[in-house]
Symmetry: D2
Subunit: 313 residues, 4 copies
């Protein structure tokens, strides 16, 4: 509309500075012991624009535990392999409940509401595992993320995975519950093993923004020009991120930020400005709904200053 | 991206023809007796593009009961008057429940989840009523809709309002429940009286698409050039429509159509392609979630052919 | 078993003394303004044994608002008139929820779980009202209570009834909700009018213990020798009191007191030792579940000292 | 009251004959594969009166899987060892939900409502296990049952235990869920191992009625004269059986039978007429709430003919 396009590098570095200066940081997730030790003062932001240019600020090269952001990659992988049959195992409606709620599963006969709450993500991982050994399934997930990010150094933090395996009783409850309804195919402990490891993938903001480029580019990986997933499926993954990507804070995120995104309890948030940018932000302190406190604030500022909201100029 | 822009008039008339030919039409809402009599074979579609051009198809000039679509107009009116204080009375998260569920109200102390489920809309109407007589409040709502649509002929179908008043026990339950928590200020019967009448506003697709233009134009009414609401608020209303506009079918609508929208049990759906178009569709038969069956299918086709999804090309 | 039978008069007067000395009294119900003014220091106890002897202690002659204890009398009246058809309108299972919960109604299509939660009692009153004017229905309830107690002076506290009518939004929500499912036959405001008045019947412990004698005597009114209700139905009313008579504190009451009973938010509790005694206790302060705090403690002491638990010597 | 006492032997044999003649038998539990194979036409009834006389009818000597009836014995054992501290881990209110519901656990922070739903019984078993090896804990439970029944031949059906271990995902969900809230102390798989084995104890009606005598005799084992548990605790176990012993059919059982009782999905029901008799009935077909269909009908007939209801003559 003839308005001056703001300079992305400048905006990113301003936001990184502003976030560094803030003292409200939320609380680091405590229920995974290994994550509780992370230094809460860190903040990173990375944006890859439509032309492939990267703008970074703060601790954008420090790897963190992507946790639930991994659900975006496993959903993409499973949709590529199973197509719309995937939706027989998992819905695509917001849950109106916290990330680890089991109430909805009882009401809906073990079928999770969407692939971004824990139960739904476990069901997606179970699909990926079917017909494979856990090691193979995990290898496939990791290879896929490395391919998307064009970075072979991405790896799994075994200490985090082990920490989660020791303490993940709530996820074990969800998995056993779905198993009792026949929603999972594989032995519960194998599915959970893969799930805990995919959540323990460690990536920096830079790597994460790189890995998510295909969702800003109609499903194409700009590094290789390969179509990762059909354009329609890419749009639909963005739609599910918008409505379900932040648990019971999804409405708030849409309202404030106006971009599809997915958060993780490690403090990362991945977001997409369709056609414009792939974005990753990281700050370990969480808000009451379990989403990165400063991460959301930074994305709100970025979306506003760059005029990227999908809901209008 | 250099692709040929499809001709809107052609697309609209094709879709109207396709919808007329379909035999799957859903079921007309039966719980409001007056609505149950509507002829289910009707279909209308109207689109106003960014330049103000109208494309219409089918029964686009026949008025129908807008029902819950009125919630978009009352939310706009109340946000204009109360600003963000409105959000003390109502949340903005998807509910994960049917439109008339009361369970969530018990869990959350009488505060409705969002302004687009019945409880939330009643709370918004109660705010508009405060300090006024019901007749004045209703007059204000009607005047606002007429102003937005630039059409003084829009009116209320008193038979529908009376029918709802006689049978609206579920809404009376929601209102009394909120009243017991102090969420409503006015006498329950007065608030409900205004609410039932606002739902009974009758508009054609053409009038509805006209009335909604401001949400496609950053809050501005193109007829008058007046700023109806701040650009940021317009974006945010679109965001709430996207996450909450179709009750427990909101995720599905976002997934398939990719546009913010609001449905009504009269069979209408209003949708916005931000920056591009204001859209209204009408077909009285509903799907299981209470949203227009053909309306949703028509919008999915329109969004796809015009490449309007907010989630990517 | 050859044990010495304790002296009832002595036990009753000891318990009244002990209760007078206690300082923990719970909190007087505040949500009905008129009840909130009652002096919390009062305590009354009355027991009528199988031979018709009365033992009284404390403020046993001061009338109080019987509130939900009235549900025992309306259930008896409706069972007498409709027989087992009554159970099509209301269940007889504990609810696992507070007295005024609406969640269960949504899950079970408007059919209340039992006749002793508010929703269930309103449904029973609606049955009694059917085919009558509210004044007649209310007259019938009052006459029935007077007949049972053999006392024509029992009356309704109009100030309490009016107070409840002005503030009973939660009950109005329950009634409208049931009406929306067709569970109520009469206009909601008429059914609620009768209900609020039956709850406002004022009785002393002495009068209440007299009125309840038939439930200790296999359904017979000892004053007149008339069979009020069949013996099997009397047993069954006792059974429903045991499992459902204290809302979400019913298990606790059974565990501690071991007698069928029904509490009211006015601080009264009516209890039955089948074959042995009809009991009424009153202390206005309530516990967290909405039952009289000292009332329950007094009944626990009485049941223990008199060896009256129905669960064994 | 001077009425003729009916002959117990005659009543028991009449009821056995009547039940044999009935064709409505409910459906055998199918979710534990090993139980699904049981012959549905079997029926047994055994009553031990206050003087120790046994009256038996039908298949009263055929062992069946006692399943949830074991919860009565583990509750007794744990109360004996931990006293009222046990109630910190588990409540004593009816749940208003099916036997394997997990919804309540989420609402109440992992603390099960009562010791007779699955979650509560698993929590009780976890207490018994604490400080022991699973083999020891299981040995203690089995020894206790043998001691109560005065019968060393009672044993565990390993095929049933193994069947349950392979398919008990719902119980694994409950256990992991409680573990996530810290309600269980031991490793989930060990607690579940003991639990599945205690449920697989096989007993005949005769053995079961013998084992339960202490609950009819104020906590005393008549064989040995030993006080198994204090009289007050025996009464209270009876109270919890009355309010919670039949899952979401507890109200119905109290209403129809009028005796404390505990059912199991193997088709057994144990019941107590305090001071009068210990009763066991068995018929494998279940009703909708998961309780023995003919078992309940037989107990209703027995209670009525013997005039044993605790709710009045």
């Amino acid at each position: 509309m003839g308005t001056i396009v703001p300079d992305l590098d400048l905006v990113v570095s301003e936001i990184a500075d502003e976030m560094r200066a803030r003292t409200d940081r939320g609380a680091v997730a405590h229920y995974i012991p290994e994550l509780a030790r992370v230094d809460a003062s860190q903040f990173g932001l990375a944006v890859i624009d439509a032309d492939g240019n990267a703008a970074v600020g703060g601790d954008a090269d420090i790897p963190f535990s992507i946790q639930s952001i991994s659900k975006v990659f496993t959903l993409t992988l499973a949709l590529g392999r199973y197509g719309d049959r995937l939706w027989r195992r998992v819905g695509r409606e917001p849950s109106g409940s916290p990330f680890n709620s089991i109430v909805q599963l009882e009401r809906e006969q073990g079928v999770p509401r969407n692939p971004f709450i824990n139960a739904g993500a476990i069901a997606v991982t179970d699909l990926i595992l079917s017909g494979h050994q856990p090691r193979e399934a995990l290898g496939e997930i990791l290879s896929f993320v490395r391919f998307l990010a064009d970075d072979e150094t991405i790896s799994i933090d075994e200490a985090v995975a082990a920490s989660e395996q020791r303490t993940g009783f709530r996820n074990a409850a969800l998995a056993n519950y779905m198993k009792s309804f026949g929603v999972l195919e594989n032995p519960v402990e194998l599915t959970l093993g893969v799930y805990f490891h995919q959540c323990a993938i460690a990536m920096s903001c830079k790597q994460l923004a790189m890995a998510g480029r295909f969702l800003a580019k109609s499903g194409r990986n700009p590094s290789t020009g390969l179509q990762v997933i059909q354009p329609e499926r890419a749009r639909r993954i963005n739609a599910v991120m918008l409505t379900c990507g932040h648990y019971d804070g999804s409405g708030e995120f849409a309202y404030r930020v106006g971009l599809p995104g997915k958060s993780g309890v490690g403090g990362g948030i991945f977001a997409v400005a369709p056609g414009k940018a792939s974005i990753a932000v990281w700050s370990p302190g969480l808000d009451a709904a379990g989403n990165s406190h400063l991460g959301r604030i930074a994305l709100e500022a970025l979306s506003k200053r760059m005029n990227w909201s999908i809901f209008g100029a």
